[in-house]
């Protein structure tokens, strides 16, 4: 793994994130920007909910027949004059790509936005081989200038304010007039467009990811808004697609179904601006486009997820809706998760790819509110999968001692209903009395980890069991 994962330090990362004022300001944009747009887009399409079922079913069908669709896809890419490479691990994928670039005598490699390229640590591998890797998506470009990892899978620089971007542009683009105005998003975008246009035109190899690989035609599809992915794959001599094996869909019809939920779930767009289908290299009748077309299919732990309780995670289409709606993500941002995949999808996927010892505690960063599952376009039961990881972490004695003692302490009472009733019956009125003025606690002894960043609601006077009885609920 070339990107150093700091997932083991989630607790400290989260602590720092909560204290970071600029980050907290920027995270306000996630709460404000994504949620309403998705809701409106979904409401504008009456068939949205059944399309989610359809997308889920297509993905399940693909996973159950993945070996066969991969073989068909591969043969269609070859038929169109393209090359297909399989990579078991991140290292193999990087080595394959670096080798193709070297064989071209490449000096610069432009890149469209690709999460799997972040996962395999491709930029570091390209740089280590003496070539320059240039991110061309605006958000990716900004974080590359800062030497950071993306903090969101579709908005990589969402953790930054525009003042921070301005400082980075002034620091790096020193050939430009120091007096220029960079106070607006427009001027920052115009500057990036100008700087990167030159890089697009001089690049030797272009690397993109893929949102879909269509078995029927051997086509890779990218979905973007800026147009950088298209310049990346159209202008250089060689186009390399790097994609994980579960991106396969059977037909163009299947891609169309999933496209209808992808844009709406991600950014609230009915369609992203550019949906580009690429099949093989330039044809004899073409006057532009790459002369060679390679696809690098990355496994990196996915084939082992099939047939397990985590198989459903392989339906993920990387829209980002789960993190956009996650209260934990809203509070700590993406970097706290310590690797390339943040939020609920990251909390489930990272332990599968990095190992439960490194990332098995990420699923603990959840309130189990269920909003992620309620918006997931392919209906991945994210809370259930997070619970599976918690169980595994507990079984392997990886959970911290305090957590284990706490559970044993609670279990002691839970097994003795009369004692439980007695203790809670005593505690509730006391806490209720102490918190009667504000209805909440800003400070609690032994619970500063909670109360430093939010208030603890005061109990309303009666225990859950007492209220249950009052409302006619049955008790055993």
């Amino acid at each position: 793994m070339t990107i150093h994962a700091t997932s083991p330090a989630f607790k400290q990362n989260a602590h720092n994130a909560l204290a970071d004022k600029q980050l907290q300001q920027a995270l306000g944009n996630v709460r404000a920007g994504f949620i309403d747009k998705r809701t409106q887009a979904a409401e504008r399409l009456p068939e949205f909910e059944v399309l989610r079922d359809s997308a889920r079913d297509i993905k399940n069908h693909v996973l159950a027949h993945l070996d066969l669709y991969l073989e068909h896809y591969e043969s269609k890419v070859r038929e169109a004059g393209g090359h297909v490479h399989f990579a078991r691990t991140a290292e193999e994928a990087c080595a394959t790509i670096v080798e193709i670039c070297k064989a071209q005598g490449a000096r610069t490699v432009t890149k469209g936005k690709s999460m799997v390229s972040e996962e395999i640590g491709l930029n570091a591998a390209i740089e280590a081989a003496g070539m320059e890797a240039i991110e061309t998506d605006l958000g990716e470009y900004i974080i590359q200038l800062r030497g950071e990892a993306p903090s969101h899978i579709i908005a990589p620089a969402v953790h930054l304010t525009k003042e921070q971007v301005e400082q980075d542009f002034r620091r790096i683009h020193t050939h430009l007039d120091p007096e220029r105005d960079l106070t607006q998003a427009e001027s920052l975008l115009t500057e990036a467009r100008m700087v990167l246009r030159k890089r697009f035109l001089e690049a030797d190899v272009g690397v993109t990811g893929a949102n879909f690989l269509v078995a029927e035609t051997g086509t890779s599809i990218i979905v973007t808004n800026e147009g950088n992915g298209d310049l990346t794959q159209t202008l250089p001599r060689v186009h390399i697609v790097v994609a994980s094996i579960e991106k396969i869909v059977p037909t163009l019809e299947d891609a169309a179904q999933i496209l209808r939920v992808l844009g709406r779930s991600a950014t609230g767009q009915d369609m992203s601006v550019y949906t580009t289908l690429s099949t093989g290299p330039r044809r004899p009748e073409d006057v532009d486009g790459p002369q060679a077309y390679h696809v690098v299919l990355v496994d990196n732990g996915r084939s082992a997820m099939l047939g397990t309780e985590f198989e459903e995670m392989l339906r993920c289409i990387r829209c980002g809706a789960c993190m956009n709606h996650c209260p934990v993500y809203h509070a700590v941002g993406g970097h706290a998760y310590g690797w390339v995949y943040p939020g609920p999808m990251g909390a489930v996927l990272s332990p599968s790819l990095l190992g439960v010892d490194k990332a098995g505690h990420l699923p603990n960063a959840s309130t189990f509110c269920g909003r992620c599952e309620s918006v997931c376009p392919v209906r991945i039961p994210l809370p259930k999968l997070m619970r599976h990881w918690r169980e595994r972490e507990y079984e392997r004695h990886l959970a911290p001692a305090v957590y284990r003692y706490g559970l044993s302490f609670w279990a002691f009472f839970a097994r003795r209903p009369w004692l439980y009733k007695f203790a809670t019956g005593l505690a509730m009125p006391t806490l209720s009395f102490l918190g009667r003025k504000k209805g909440r606690f800003a400070r609690l002894p032994l619970a500063s980890g909670w109360t430093d960043h939010r208030d603890m609601p005061a109990p309303q006077g009666k225990t859950f069991q007492a209220q249950w009885r009052e409302r006619g609920g049955k008790t055993r």
């Binding site: 399309l51 159950a64 070996d67 298209d230 159209t234 163009l252 949906t275 044809r283 073409d286 047939g307």
Partner: protein, 223 residues
């Protein structure tokens, strides 16, 4: 074992299959052959003037502009009007599309050049393969007729769309692609374009004109 065989056998081991089971093979072959349509939103299931109106409304919603003309030669005057209105230089870069080749530009001041873009063209003119009314999306296919670079490098992109090439939904566009290129085959590039380029990467504020065209103007040639 090669990486390819390793991955395929890992998948098969995880799924508990050997890859030769007849029901699995036929399920896959059947799906690839039939390409079943899934849920079809009612929105796109309109025809005639309603379909054109839907396309217009959806394209304008995503910040494209749309004009309708009756005669092929009107494309020339509409393009000239558009460039004038936006104070753009009177230049156009276009490919070798036969449907645009007969246009007579001599009555305008527009200087027309032909071929792919090398990055210094301000205005591009292309002919669409088709379009999708459901989302206001243009479909461009690569080739000498309409080089892919013209879809992305010029600041202003003018696209001609024949009304007859406008379909309701993506699935109908796939049918047209199969009719033109053969089932299971596709042109090197199909660009589905829904509005001008944009980015929301700085503070989630949408700004037009990221790396592709800042403006997209669609001229519909009515039947």
């Amino acid at each position: 074992m090669s990486a390819r065989e390793d991955i395929l056998s890992n998948i098969r081991r995880s799924l508990g299959v050997n890859g030769r089971e007849a029901p699995r093979l036929s399920a896959v072959q059947e799906r690839l052959r039939m390409a079943p349509r899934g849920v079809m939103p009612a929105r796109g299931q309109v025809s005639g003037a309603q379909r054109v109106a839907l396309f217009r409304a959806e394209a304008e919603r995503v910040a494209a502009s749309v004009a309708e003309v009756a005669q092929p030669q009107d494309i020339v005057s509409e393009a000239a009007r558009y460039l004038r209105e936006h104070n753009l230089p009177a230049t156009l870069r276009m490919g070798a599309d036969a449907r645009l080749a007969d246009l007579d530009w001599s009555d305008t001041a527009i200087e027309v050049s032909h071929g792919p873009s090398a990055g210094d063209d301000l205005n591009g003119l292309s002919h669409a393969f088709g379009a999708i009314a459901e989302t206001g999306t243009l479909a461009m296919t690569s080739g000498a007729g309409n080089p892919t670079t013209l879809n992305f490098l010029p600041d202003n992109h003018i696209v001609v769309l024949r009304e007859a090439d406008l379909v309701g939904d993506a699935e109908s566009l796939w049918d047209r692609l199969r009719a033109a290129y053969g089932k299971g085959f596709a042109p090197r590039t199909v660009n589905l374009i829904t509005g001008p380029s944009r980015s929301g990467d700085i503070e989630q504020q949408i700004v037009l004109g990221a790396h592709g065209p800042r403006r997209l103007h669609i001229i519909i040639l009515r039947d």
